[in-house]
Amino acid sequence: MVFGDEVQSNLGCIKIYKSAIAAVAAIAAMEVEGVKSVSRGAVIRFLELMGAKITKIRIEIDHNSNVSIEVPLIVKYGYHVPEVANKVQENIRQAVEKSTNLSVKNVDISIKSIERSG
């Protein structure tokens, strides 16, 4: 596990893992209509079956606590891809900023595949 960011509160310090930010981003992406799944490779799917919690969402945090997120997506067939990508970017930005109080610098989307829903 890799630490994402550390926030100091009155009672102590709060550490936010990158995996937690990635989980928030994955949930936010899946909320958008037209998104089939957050893409994962075969190896990651196998490791997840073995019980490991892994997401392929990449999180980078610079020294000013600005977050950069890279999300691989599979979009449903029949949806306008740029529109879906835009909505995902906005939804992830809002969700991550709301949940973590970190500022999101950019959300990069990579469309890995287009698949039929169902």
Binding site: S68, I69, V75, Y77, G78, Y79, H80, V81, P82, E83, A85, N86, Q89, E90, R93, N106, V107, D108, I109, S110, I111, K112, S113, I114, E115, R116
Partner: protein, 201 residues
């Protein structure tokens, strides 16, 4: 490094051929355990031979490593098209466009099989479609329609403004009569179930 890649291809082909020849030779008693023993003792015989074997082993490792890199590199080199939005960059894998074309062409019953290949170049997006058709299809009309559907679907779904060049290569034309005949023959050959028609309401 390119030399090693070529060597790697020849090496693997050579090894597989050698194994095959070895099996055949064993089955015909042409290769005996004494031959293998002789080769082994020859390799161990003097320091020069030992060094030759060592260097050959090292070379084989380098070739194998280079070959593995070549294969993995090809697998990982995923090509994309990209555009930037206010929130960041959006990249679309060319394989995703290929998926889209496959789905879009499903509405045309004349197409039996379609395999698209998408390349992004300075000229624009070049789509090559290898198509297997049913014989009753009117080729000029069908290909024009396929080009139109593919182009409009890519523009509509991906919002791409670049030029889209669509090349169609008809690889096969399948006769429907032939297919129906084969199906009928298969049905004829199927054994009938005794009393299969009884008991139906």
């Amino acid at each position: 490094m390119r030399v090693f890649n070529v060597l790697g291809i020849f090496f693997y082909a050579g090894v597989i051929i050698l194994i095959g020849v070895g099996f055949i030779a064993l089955s015909f008693n042409l290769l005996l355990p004494e031959h293998v023993n002789y080769l082994y003792y020859y390799m161990q015989d003097n320091p020069l031979n030992k060094w030759a074997v060592r260097l050959s082993g090292l070379l084989l490792i380098i070739i194998s490593y280079s070959f593995a890199q070549l294969i993995l590199g090809r697998m990982q080199r995923e090509k994309t098209i990209a555009f930037t939005t206010a929130s960041g960059e959006v990249t679309i894998a060319l394989s995703a466009i290929e998926d889209l074309i496959k789905y879009a062409s499903n509405i045309m019953p004349e197409i039996r099989d379609l395999s698209p290949d998408v390349i992004a170049s300075k000229k624009g997006i070049i789509v090559t479609l290898r198509v297997a058709l049913r014989s009753e299809a009117n080729l000029p009309e069908l290909t024009a329609r396929l080009q139109e559907i593919t182009k409009s679907k890519i523009q509509e779904v991906l919002g791409i403004e670049e030029a889209i060049i669509i090349r169609i290569h008809i690889s096969k034309i399948v006769s429907r009569e032939e297919k129906d005949k084969r199906r009928k023959d298969a049905l004829k050959d199927e054994p009938s179930i005794p009393f299969g028609g009884f008991g139906r309401v």
